[in-house]
C-alpha cells in the first residue's frame, strides 16, 4: 500500500474522510454525549435550567410515581426479552436446522420466513391490531367459526393477553432474521466434521448439541446481543398496538414508551420533562451497553471453550 508522502495526497485523504466523519460526529456522537449532559440539568420545557446533579436519576429510580413506572416498564422489557429469546431465537434455530437439510422446497420456505422481516413494523403492528380486534378480528371470528368461541378474547384489552399478543406479533415479524443467521452459520460447518460425527453416532440430539450448536455459537452470540438491544429499545410495535400509555393499565408499558412519554409528554398529562427523559435514556443506555458487553464477552469465552 502506498504510504502517505505528499501533502497533495494528505489533502486528498482529508477531503475523503472529513465529510463522513463530520456526519457521524454531528448526528451520532454529539447527541449521545449531550444526552448524558442533559440528564444533569433541570429543564423547563425546552429551556435548560440549573445544574441539579443526580437529582433526575434519583427521581426516576426512587421517587413515586416514577419509581413504580420505571420498575413496571423494566419488568415488561425483561419478559419481552426472555419470551422472544424462546419464541424468536429458539424457533429460529429449529427452522434454520430444518432449512439446512435442503429438503424439497427449502428455497421457497427460506424466502417465506424472511418476508415479514422486510415489512415496516408499523404495517405489522396495524395488521395484528386488526386481526386481534375483539368483535371483527379474524382471530376471534375464526375461533367462533370453529365452535371455540369460548377462547375468543379481547386480546389487547387484558393485561395478561395484551403483552403476549405483542410478543407473538414481534416474533412473527422477526423470526426470519435469527433463522437465516443461524442457517448461514450451519452452512459454514465443514462437511468432513459432519461425516466424522456420523461415524460415531446416529443420534440427532447428540449431533445438534455436540456439533451444530457449538459451531453456530458465534451466530448465536450476535443474535442474542441484537435481540437484547432490540428488546430494550422496543417502541414502534407497542406504540401502535397498545398506545403511548402501554394500555391497558401499563401492562404493555416498556422503557421505550415510558422514555418517550416522559420526554415529550402525552395528551393525558401534558407534562414534558427533558431532564427526567434524559436520565431515563442514560440509564437504559448504560444498562444495555453493560449487559450487551457482558453477553458478548461471556458467550465469546464459551465459544472458545466449546
Amino acid at each position: 500500500m502506498p504510504h502517505l508522502r505528499m501533502t497533495g495526497r494528505g489533502l486528498w485523504i482529508t477531503a475523503l474522510i472529513v465529510p463522513p466523519l463530520a456526519f457521524v460526529a454531528l448526528f451520532i456522537v454529539y447527541p449521545i454525549i449531550s444526552a448524558f449532559a442533559y440528564a444533569f440539568f433541570d429543564w423547563q420545557g425546552l429551556r435548560r435550567g440549573d445544574f441539579v446533579g443526580l437529582e433526575n436519576f434519583h427521581t426516576v429510580l426512587f421517587v413515586e410515581p416514577y419509581r413504580s413506572w420505571t420498575i413496571n416498564a423494566f419488568k415488561n422489557n425483561v419478559i419481552v426479552f426472555f419470551a422472544l429469546m424462546v419464541l424468536q431465537n429458539g424457533l429460529g434455530f429449529i427452522l434454520a436446522y430444518a432449512l439446512w437439510r435442503g429438503l424439497p422446497g427449502a428455497r421457497f420456505h427460506r424466502i417465506a420466513v424472511f418476508l415479514p422481516v422486510v415489512l415496516s413494523t408499523i404495517i405489522v403492528a396495524y395488521l395484528f391490531k386488526l386481526f386481534l380486534h375483539p368483535l371483527f378480528g379474524v382471530v376471534n371470528i375464526s375461533l367462533r367459526g370453529i365452535g371455540m368461541g369460548w377462547l375468543a378474547q379481547p386480546w389487547l384489552g387484558q393485561g395478561n393477553t395484551a403483552i403476549w399478543s405483542l410478543i407473538v406479533a414481534q416474533a412473527w415479524h422477526m423470526v426470519g432474521f435469527p433463522t437465516l443467521v443461524f442457517l448461514a452459520g450451519m452452512q459454514r460447518i465443514p462437511g468432513e466434521i459432519l461425516d466424522a460425527v456420523r461415524m460415531e453416532t446416529e443420534s440427532e440430539w447428540v449431533k445438534i448439541t455436540g456439533i451444530v450448536w457449538p459451531l453456530v455459537a458465534p451466530s448465536a452470540t450476535i443474535v442474542f446481543t441484537l435481540l437484547f438491544v432490540g428488546a430494550f429499545n422496543w417502541f414502534e410495535l407497542p406504540y401502535i398496538m397498545a398506545g403511548l400509555d402501554g394500555s391497558p393499565f401499563g401492562s404493555t408499558d416498556v422503557l421505550g414508551l415510558y422514555f418517550y412519554r416522559t420526554a415529550f409528554g402525552n395528551v393525558s398529562s401534558g407534562q414534558q420533562d427533558f431532564g427526567l427523559g434524559s436520565a431515563l435514556a442514560v440509564l437504559i443506555f448504560l444498562f444495555v451497553a453493560v449487559i450487551a458487553s457482558v453477553i458478548t464477552v461471556r458467550l465469546r469465552a464459551r465459544e472458545i471453550q466449546l
Binding site: F23, H109, A112, V118, I122, V138, S278
Partner: protein, 287 residues
C-alpha cells in the same frame, strides 16, 4: 448454497431420514403457512368491502373490485407519503453510499496516522442506539432550523447508515488487488482518477450489500419522523400510514388496501432480489 449438506444427506439414504425429515418438512410447511397467512389475508381483504371482510375473512375476493384502491388514490395523501419516502430514502442512500465509500476508500486504501482510530470511531456508531439520543437530536434539529423538514431525516439516516457502510466497504476494499492501481499510478493518473475509474467499478458488489442493509430500515423507519416531522405533506409512508389509519378506521377494506399498498413496493423488490436482501440484511450478523 446448501449443496454440501444435500449431498451429505443423500448419501445417508432416503428411508432412514424419512421420519425425521418428514417432521422437519411439516415444521417448515406449517411455519411458511403462518408466515404467509397474515400477508395473504391482508391482500385478500384489500379487495373486499368491509362487510365481506367481517363475514368471510378467508374468502377469495373478486380481484377486479378495486374500489378501495381508487379511494386511496383519490381521497388520501397516500401518493404524497409514498413520494416523500422515495425522496428521503433516495437522498439518504445517495449520501450514505457516497460518503461511506469515500471514508472506506481512504481507510482501506491508504496508510496514514490515525486511520485505525478513525475506523474505530465509525465502528462505535454501529452499536449505539440512537433512539435514546432523540432529545439532543431534537434540539440539534431545532438549532439547525430543520425541524419539520425532511433534511432532518436525511441527515440522521445518513449518520446512522455510515458505520455499517464503512465497516462493510473497508473490509471489501482492503481485499482488492494493488496491481491495477499501481499501474495507473505509474502512468501518472491522479488519485481521484484512480479512485473514480479504476477502483469504484470494482466495489459495486459491496455497495449493493451495504445499500440493502441500510435501505430497508430507512424505508421502514417510523421513530424519527414521529419526532421531527409534523406537516402532513412532508410525512413518510410509515408515519403517513398512522394518520391514514386514524382517518379511515371505520372502513376496513380501505385500511387493508392501505396496508397492502404500503407493503407492496418492498415485498415486490424483496421477491425479485431475495438473495441479495437476505445477504444484505444479515450481513452485519454473519461473518
Amino acid at each position: 448454497m446448501s449443496a454440501a449438506s444435500t449431498t451429505y444427506y443423500d448419501r445417508r439414504g432416503l428411508l432412514g431420514a424419512l421420519g425425521r425429515d418428514g417432521l422437519l418438512q411439516i415444521i417448515l410447511i406449517a411455519n411458511t403457512i403462518i408466515m404467509l397467512a397474515p400477508i395473504v389475508i391482508m391482500i385478500f381483504s384489500a379487495f373486499k368491502t368491509t362487510p365481506q371482510i367481517f363475514q368471510s375473512p378467508f374468502g377469495i375476493p373478486d380481484f377486479t373490485q378495486v374500489g378501495n384502491f381508487v379511494k386511496i388514490w383519490t381521497q388520501t395523501n397516500f401518493l404524497r407519503y409514498l413520494l416523500n419516502s422515495f425522496i428521503v430514502t433516495g437522498a439518504s442512500m445517495t449520501l450514505i453510499l457516497t460518503l461511506g465509500t469515500m471514508a472506506a476508500y481512504a481507510i482501506g486504501r491508504y496508510q496514514f496516522t490515525g486511520s485505525g482510530f478513525i475506523l474505530m470511531f465509525f465502528l462505535a456508531g454501529l452499536t449505539l442506539p440512537l433512539k435514546l439520543a432523540i432529545i439532543p437530536l431534537f434540539m440539534l434539529m431545532r438549532d439547525l432550523s430543520i425541524l419539520n423538514n425532511q433534511l432532518s431525516l436525511i441527515f440522521v439516516y445518513t449518520a446512522m447508515g455510515l458505520p455499517t457502510t464503512v465497516f462493510i466497504m473497508t473490509g471489501f476494499i482492503r481485499t482488492l488487488p494493488n496491481e491495477l492501481e499501481d499501474a495507473a499510478r505509474m502512468d501518472g493518473a491522479s488519485e481521484a482518477r484512480i479512485m473514480w475509474s479504476i477502483m469504484l467499478p470494482l466495489v459495486r458488489p459491496a455497495m449493493v450489500i451495504a445499500g440493502i442493509q441500510n435501505v430497508v430500515p430507512i424505508w421502514n423507519d417510523f421513530f424519527f419522523p414521529l419526532v421531527f416531522i409534523q406537516n402532513d405533506d412532508l410525512k413518510t409512508l410509515p408515519q403517513g400510514l398512522t394518520t391514514f389509519m386514524g382517518e379511515y378506521t371505520t372502513d376496513w377494506g380501505v385500511l387493508f388496501s392501505g396496508l397492502t399498498l404500503s407493503a407492496a413496493p418492498i415485498i415486490i423488490i424483496y421477491i425479485v432480489l431475495s438473495r441479495q436482501f437476505i445477504a444484505g440484511m444479515t450481513s452485519g450478523a454473519v461473518k
